[in-house]
């Protein structure tokens, strides 16, 4: 097996410093909706300048380069042990090159490892074997501010009169956005899972964030819910940075997963405007960074 450390390093650099085109386009559209001279528009203008400058300087878009979360789809026969080794090496190298901030902190002693290498869960790497001969690696860098405003609900929820149905899901999602206010760096994106156990539910909510912004949910009920939640969240008027304004949530992506009869979880992974996710595809000698 070849050594792909340099390719993983480039994937990290690209993700940390260069906003994906679909996200950049959506943010630009959000800017246009804000009133001229408003604090919201000023915030969006600053955001757009920053995106451009980060790309130009190859510097992190946000200083919180977050938890690196890798999703690796590998062909039969590849060594996940070697891939993991190469990914960890690339993460440490990227930290040395200041594409990443040293973020792995020992929860007991408070000591920062200095190179973003923690235990087995840090960085997070998910492996899945696939048919064919193509290696596909998705990377999400998810900052702590937005991770802190994520939430998990258990339906029914008496406080919100949210029942075990899609309207109940709608209510708790709006609650999550209301509770977050500007603290998760609005305008944000919602990765949502309905169902699962507590762990698999949060996992699925992050997987929802891998979807391109302009795709449509194949389930018509969920497609409709995604649109409704985005539209209604924007009626809250929280706006960019919580300054008040038209766009609070840019997009919502929902994934349904099977649940136990007794459990009905709704999990929200709130993604800040600095929605950093990139994909690398390796087939033979060809390497594509999307």
């Amino acid at each position: 097996m070849k050594d792909y450390t340099e390719n993983f390093l480039e994937l990290v650099r690209l993700t940390a410093t260069s906003m994906p085109p679909d996200v950049e386009k959506a943010l630009k559209e959000s800017l246009e909706k804000e009133e001229k001279g408003s604090a919201a528009r000023g915030a969006m203008e600053t955001i757009m300048i920053n995106i451009e400058m980060a790309r130009e300087k190859s510097a992190p878009i946000c200083q919180d380069t977050g938890t690196p979360i890798f999703y690796v789809h590998y062909p039969e026969g590849w060594s996940t042990r070697k891939l993991k080794d190469q990914i960890r090496k690339a993460v440490a190298l990227a930290t040395g090159k200041t594409y990443l901030r040293p973020n792995a902190v020992d929860s007991i002693t408070g000591k920062n490892t200095g190179d973003n290498l923690g235990d087995d869960h840090y960085p997070t790497i998910h492996f899945e074997e696939v048919e064919g001969d193509t290696l596909t690696v998705d990377l999400i860098l998810k900052g702590g501010g937005c991770e802190n405003v994520g939430a998990q609900y258990k339906l029914p929820d008496g406080r919100l009169s949210a029942g075990r149905d899609l309207d109940g899901v709608r209510k708790v999602l709006l609650d999550a956005v209301y509770q977050a206010q500007g603290k998760g760096c609005a305008p944000g994106f919602l990765g949502v899972a309905i169902g699962g156990d507590r762990g698999s539910s949060f996992l699925a909510s992050k997987e929802a964030l891998l979807r391109p912004l302009d795709d449509k949910n194949p389930d018509p009920q969920l497609a409709e819910l995604e649109e409704t939640v985005t539209k209604e969240a924007n009626k809250l008027g929280i706006g960019p940075m919580g300054f008040g304004g038209k766009t609070t949530v840019v997009g919502t992506k929902i994934k349904a997963t099977h649940r136990l009869p007794a459990c009905f979880f709704v999990s929200v992974s709130y993604m800040c405007w600095a929605y950093r996710r990139r994909r690398m595809i390796i087939k033979g000698d060809e390497v594509i960074y999307e």
């Binding site: 600053t46 992190p60 200041t98 040293p102």
Partner: protein, 205 residues
Amino acid sequence: MIKLTMPISDDQIRNLRVGDTVFLNGVMLTGRDTVHKWMIDTFIEKNRKPEGDDEEVYQAIKPLLEGGVIYHCGPVVAGLDTGDYAFVAAGPTTSIREEPYQGRVMEHFNMKGVIGKGGMGAKTLAACAEVPCVYFHAIGGAATLIAQSVKKVLGVHKMDFGVPEAIWVLEVEDFPVVVTMDSHGSSIHADIESKSKAEFEKLIA
């Protein structure tokens, strides 16, 4: 547009109102979760005895915080191996985590400003009126852009807290912020929260 240079006077703070755009100049310190807890435990509540260089660091930062500003920020820093530090990315972190500490820290050091994002709560707002002090909002995530305002890293304390949590001493030039909590009891955050609450209640009714 208002330009202010640290140390800032009480009169200058009283003249600021929510919505004002301010460009900050001079020396400021970074400080976030670990630093605020360390200040409270060691020097304000004193339920922990100073250890190692604690006392020395306290004496070094005290004069800088008199009329000074703390920036809630965990930067990406170049030159860690050589000590020739430069800020690469340095946007604000979410301030609300310091809510249990901030008011007392402002009072203790007679600080004039805190920079962060997302706003703070009632305790900090009350301290802002009392001290007086203000909350300056920087644009969250605009890290590369904001790093351009950091002209020089003058030094660093408490590197054992880790790079994001250390106390970085910075010289800044026209550091862009907006006042979102002033010393007259106004908070854009409290205002937006109550407006959005009314809308939220309609939507889930």
